[in-house]
């Protein structure tokens, strides 16, 4: 009888960033939902057309504050493909290590936000405490905590500093122990489990139709990871497994992310052991030959893609960003439909919203 539209956001604790979720409720059950984005539009793509190729790398950091390393890596990857230069092997290993540090700290940021969404502040404090180690590793590696500006077209900014490997191994070993504590805090918590299990259910087929990528897709049983199935850098030389969960609900997505953090530790450990000596950076030409190029890689949030159109000058003609969250948030209607109003934070939190890359 009384269907009502409720606007959640843009200032709402559940919306991690500036976006609005309009939900139509019938009593407490959600009938319809519509995401409204665009509050953070900065004209990023247009801005890039005005900059030379090296100048875009620090801008790519600003697409997403917790996945800055992967975004600038992706930009360098597409520029390298356009310039047809091959990255030295040591630089490839350093990039893999940097990407995995970024993935772990991004997932920890998600875990912290998820904890506060469900009213558990201990998860927030513990996850952010462990995240601090990885940010300290970022400081040691490239001199900044979040806006790393580390990958360069043709390699990386600098070689690993003195004793960085020792610090990295210490952090990874300690983090694996502490992660079990966080798992004990969530998996043994009846409130956490009952709020996460069985809400926001998506089947494997629907996930494919909606275009979900990343942990949201792997949480519904789709066994696909760009790192394994379209290997870039040296991921195919390392022995690791893709985390896949058949549950398809919020808890499945949570499990995939936790497992991915363990796998990232494994990747870091192997990459440090296998890393060869050698140069870390190749001199890149200033101009890019005419043509169109596409590169993709596995972001912490999903599959990110950049499309570069160059016209032979030192500035890109067009740089298109395919953000994983832009696609994932369009699935929010399917995710929250049929659920309860109180479940919306528990469902949308597992999407791991990031508005910087969505609105660009």
């Amino acid at each position: 009888m009384s269907k009502m539209w409720v606007t959640m956001g843009p200032q709402h604790p559940f919306s991690h960033g500036l976006w609005t979720l309009k939900v139509q409720v019938d009593g407490e059950v959600i009938q319809d939902a519509e995401p409204v984005i665009g509050y953070l539009h900065r004209g990023w793509e247009k801005e890039c057309e005005n900059r030379t190729y090296p100048q875009i790398i620090p801008m790519a950091d600003r697409l997403c504050y917790s996945a800055s390393m992967t975004w600038s890596h992706l930009y360098c990857k597409v520029a390298e493909e356009a310039m047809e230069i091959e990255v030295p092997e040591r630089a490839q290993y350093i990039r893999v290590i940097a990407d995995e540090i970024c993935r772990i700290q991004s997932h920890l940021m998600w875990l912290a936000a998820m904890g506060t969404d469900l009213g558990n502040l201990t998860i927030f404090l513990w996850a952010l405490r462990e995240r601090e180690w990885f940010l300290d590793l970022n400081v040691k590696l490239c001199g900044q905590r979040l806006t790393t500006n580390f990958p360069r077209i043709g390699g990386v900014r600098n070689d690993m500093p003195y004793l960085f490997e020792r610090d990295l191994m210490r952090v990874v070993d300690l983090f694996e122990k502490r992660l079990w504590d966080i798992i004990a805090l969530t998996d043994d918590n009846a409130i956490f489990m009952s709020r996460m299990q069985g809400v926001g259910h998506v089947t494997r087929k629907e996930a494919a139709n909606l275009g979900l990528t990343g942990p949201s897709m792997r949480g519904c049983g789709v066994n696909f990871d760009v790192r394994r199935d379209d290997p870039y850098m040296v991921y195919d030389e390392l022995d690791w497994e893709v985390a896949v969960c058949d549950d398809g609900d919020s808890y499945g997505r949570y499990k995939v992310r936790i497992e991915e953090m363990f796998q990232s530790c494994e990747i870091i450990r192997q990459a440090v052991a296998k890393m060869p000596d050698g140069p870390t950076r190749v001199k890149a030409p200033r101009n890019v030959p005419e043509g169109t190029h596409v590169a993709r890689l596995e972001d912490p949030r999903g599959e990110s893609l950049m499309y570069l159109v160059s016209d032979g000058t030192d500035r890109p003609y067009r740089l298109k960003v395919r953000s994983p969250i832009f696609v994932n948030v369009s699935a929010s209607k399917r995710l929250v439909q049929g659920g309860r109003m109180a479940d919306v934070p528990a469902i949308m939190g597992t999407i791991d919203m990031c508005l910087g890359e969505t609105d660009r």
Binding site: P54, Q55, V139, N149, D188, A243, V244, V282, K283, P285
Partner: protein
């Protein structure tokens, strides 16, 4: 599907004993803190350790700078402006001035600086009362106690070198890229020689024209040149172009 790590988490009831573990941790911490000083950092009075190569505000070593303007051109936010200063030692020279309010601390100015005059300082407390107070002139940019760690080095390798198997020859653009002259376009105006910040361009007489006046052509001192492209940009007839070595 199996989770390699997460499945190891015990599902029996004894896992609830983890509560005791946190009691143990707390007890350990109590003993530790009573014997040692607290871990809290009293921020304004004591600060956390950061490495020397931390990317804070840009700094300038005044004596090393030649005023080539590479930092001005590479800056993504165009916060660097070359201003003329009247220095007691060096006389009237051109030096960078940084609008720190717009700086994004990317460290590009220090990375691309051919003489390592720009550095990244570990200074991060940059509050000011006015916007004008954030515009750092070349003397304010100086950083007390700068060391080699604050310089950013660009160790690039040529692709042609790597294909030949040479891996111990680090170069960068200011070492290998040199301006090349298109002789047909040059009118011998010698603006490039006046503009060159390091005095690498010398005008030499190569002959006489029909009226008996000398024809001048620039000669580049390859060792002195830092590939700043100032001559390329000032050239009125586009006779100069930077030749990239790859």
């Amino acid at each position: 599907m199996a989770m390699k790590y997460l499945d190891k988490y015990p599902k029996n009831n004894s896992r609830h004993l983890w509560v005791l573990k946190s009691f143990y941790t707390t007890f350990k911490q109590i003993i530790k803190t009573t014997r040692h000083r607290p871990v809290t950092i009293m921020y304004p009075y004591e600060k956390e350790w950061i490495p020397d190569y931390y990317r804070g505000r840009p700094g300038l070593v005044f004596d090393k700078c030649v005023g080539c303007g590479i930092c001005e051109r590479i800056c993504p936010t165009t916060c660097i402006e070359m201003v003329e200063v009247d220095d007691a030692k060096a006389g009237k020279v051109v030096r960078p001035q940084v609008n720190v309010g717009r700086c994004m601390m990317c460290g590009y100015c220090a990375e691309y600086c051919p003489t390592k005059a720009m550095i990244t300082t570990p200074e991060y407390e940059l509050a000011a009362y006015t916007r004008e107070g954030l515009i750092f002139d070349p003397y304010q940019l100086a950083y007390e106690g700068h060391n080699e760690e604050m310089q950013v080095h660009m160790h690039e390798h040529l692709l042609s070198d790597l294909q030949k198997g040479i891996t111990d020859n680090p170069v960068n653009a200011s070492l290998v890229d040199r301006p090349a002259l298109d002789d047909a376009k040059c009118i011998g105006c010698s603006r490039c020689a006046k503009e060159c910040p390091v005095g690498a361009v010398e005008m030499i007489v190569v002959g006489e024209n029909d009226k008996g006046k000398p024809i001048k052509r620039p000669k580049f001192d390859e060792a002195k040149c830092i590939a700043c492209e100032k001559c390329v940009m000032i050239c009125p007839k586009d006779a100069l172009a930077l030749k990239e070595v790859l």
